[in-house]
């Protein structure tokens, strides 16, 4: 059984203007040990796909109009809120794109780490080496120790001292490591990372990529890595899915898709990467003629499928 199996997922978002279809039939399967890069157009639905997996979209605005999401065989869209709470931060770790939902500026790093650990330990006390019958104090102490150990293993020196600090006292790279640690403290089977290195310089970025790579090597987890950086995908991912306007237009092993892209949109993306090693005359963005050809290719594929 696949760790994550999304099939024909349709999602509409409601606003006062009415309902807009956002995801138009997403199929994606993530096995353990795989790192899926999800790339694609701004606004194509990458983040909403990620948020759907842990069902974090408010049901006042999000309406699932078709398809299903299976996590380890469990039907996520039809699971109760209690089950979902256990999955989030437990078996599914998330790093959000929206920085404001990530770290609360008014609480110490340690407080936030310990809360995340205790939350995850409610269903899986073993992650803190507990049986579930310990006192509150013992649980907190275990959560504290596990947090320190995890931060240290992520290369954050003096973690014990750092736990007493507030987010603004950390550099961007340090904060990002804390976020990954928070997502990993529950020892999830699936990590969903939405643009985790976008704000970072290339040196810190490469540290973070090594870190995620190591986690997959050591724990055989599955990863969904949402990014705009095709260099990062080439560096880290085993597979890649390319999204355009609510659809996955191309998918496959990185060695295939990035070496010999088949879809016109994937090629457009590859052609738009600026390189630091040579002077480029003009990068091609997506102009209307190109957009028409992309739409035509998508329409043609859709016809083949229905035929």
């Amino acid at each position: 059984m696949a760790l994550l199996d999304i099939s024909d997922l349709h999602l509409s978002m409601r606003s006062f203007e009415g309902e807009t279809p956002i995801l138009k039939g997403i199929d994606l399967t993530v096995e353990r040990g795989q790192i899926w890069g999800v790339v694609g157009e701004t606004g194509s639905g990458k983040s909403l796909t990620g948020l759907t997996i842990s069902r974090l979209l408010p049901n006042t605005t999000a309406r699932y109009t078709g398809g299903q999401v299976l996590f380890d065989g469990k039907d996520v869209l039809r699971a109760g809120e209690r089950d979902m709470r256990a999955l989030r931060g437990g078996r599914i770790g998330m790093i959000f794109q929206d920085p404001t939902t990530n770290l609360n500026p008014s609480f110490r790093i340690g407080t936030q780490m310990v809360d995340a650990a205790l939350h995850a330990a409610r269903d899986k006390p073993a992650i803190l080496g507990l049986t579930g019958r310990e006192s509150r104090r013992a649980r907190r102490r275990a959560a504290w120790q596990a947090s320190v150990a995890l931060l240290e293993s992520f290369g954050l020196h003096d973690a014990e001292d750092r736990m007493a600090r507030f987010p603004h006292e950390f550099s961007g790279g340090m904060r990002q490591r804390v976020l990954i640690a928070m997502a990993m403290i529950g020892q999830p089977d699936l990590l969903i990372a939405d643009e985790p290195t976008t704000a970072l310089d290339v040196s810190v970025q490469s540290q973070i990529l090594r870190l995620i790579h190591r986690l997959v090597e050591e724990r055989n987890i599955g990863v969904m890595f949402i990014t705009h950086n095709l260099g990062v995908v080439a560096q880290l991912c085993s597979h890649v899915a390319v999204m355009y306007r609510g659809r996955i237009v191309e998918r496959g092993p990185v060695s295939k898709v990035l070496k010999a892209p088949e879809h016109i949109y994937t090629r457009a993306l590859m052609d738009a990467i600026p390189t630091a090693r040579a002077q480029m005359d003009t990068l091609r963005g997506i102009d209307w003629p190109l957009r028409d050809r992309i739409e035509a290719e998508i329409a043609a594929t859709a016809k083949e499928v229905t035929a």
Binding site: V39, A199, S203, V233
Partner: protein
């Protein structure tokens, strides 16, 4: 040579020692001896690791921080101690686009109002009447690839990348001369990034804009900038024409930055897991 639009001379910045809740934080020297001169119509790039002092430098350029040493001149005039009217006029001539589109848009305001707000403040200086605001907002949205249908939406209804386009439209609304761009495209997909970079180039030609461009993406800097400065722990370690600095870096630090760029060719990527 004509007078530079932006001139930074011997700039140093020390964050003062502060007594906080948890003891005293010692004084911290963030910038030392910065000399940069940017000509009108030029694109100047700034690259360096996280924490190297890039934001501190832009805050000094904008006159939001008082330099500890040296000074910043915009069009020959200091950027601090201007009085209220002077400050407003300077604000219009220098705009900044931040990296984080989330934090810089008011969630309660429609896109129309967000952009028109800038026009309300600076409209008189620009000679744009109130009745012309909506037309101008529409033109700006079109310039950044958004349409009439987005006019009365709120920020949460846009994706991260769409929000960044709104930010750029807002900065351009007041027709600035110097645009400081702090990671303006890092939230965008590479095609939209290319669109925005091309848009910035076109606007530069048409309007004679000057750019001060900060990015972690050295490819973006190479594509956009004429010259670049590399900053390491608050000091400029080298500066010059982009092609020269990136093709034949004289500093190990610059080489390290170049080497850390992940290449989109999967064959050149040792970390990658095999499918």
């Amino acid at each position: 040579m004509s007078k530079p639009l932006l001139k930074i001379e011997g700039l140093g910045h020390v964050y003062g020692a502060r007594r906080g809740l948890f003891g005293t934080s010692p004084a911290f020297r963030a910038l030392t001896g910065i000399d940069i001169s940017v000509a009108r119509g030029e694109s100047f790039g700034l690259v360096g690791e996280s924490g190297s002092g890039k934001t501190t430098l832009t805050r000094n350029i904008l006159g939001l921080e008082r330099p500890s040493e040296g000074h910043v001149l915009f069009d020959g005039h200091p950027v601090i101690d201007l009085g209220r009217g002077g400050e407003r006029r300077l604000r219009r001539r220098m705009q900044i686009v931040f990296q984080d589109p989330q934090a810089s848009l008011d969630p309660r305001m429609t896109i129309h109002d967000t952009i028109a707000e800038a026009l309300v403040i600076h409209g008189p200086d620009l000679g744009i009447a109130r009745s012309g605001y909506t037309r101008r907002v529409l033109d700006l949205l079109e310039a950044v690839g958004l349409g009439r249908e987005h006019l009365y939406r709120h920020p949460h209804e846009f994706s991260g990348g769409q929000r960044q386009r709104i930010n750029i439209a807002r900065a351009l609304a007041v027709e600035p001369e110097l645009l400081i761009l702090d990671e303006p495209t890092s939230a965008l997909d590479v095609s939209v990034q290319a669109d925005i970079l091309n848009l910035l180039q076109r606007l530069q030609k048409e309007l004679g804009l000057t750019y001060f461009f900060i990015s972690h993406d050295l490819g973006v800097i190479r594509y956009t900038c004429d010259r670049v400065a590399v900053i390491e722990r608050g000091r400029i370690v080298e500066q010059g024409p982009v092609a020269k600095i990136f093709d034949t870096p004289s500093q190990d630090y610059t080489r390290k930055l170049m080497d850390a760029i992940p290449d989109p060719d999967p064959d050149l990527s040792p970390l990658r897991r095999l499918a």
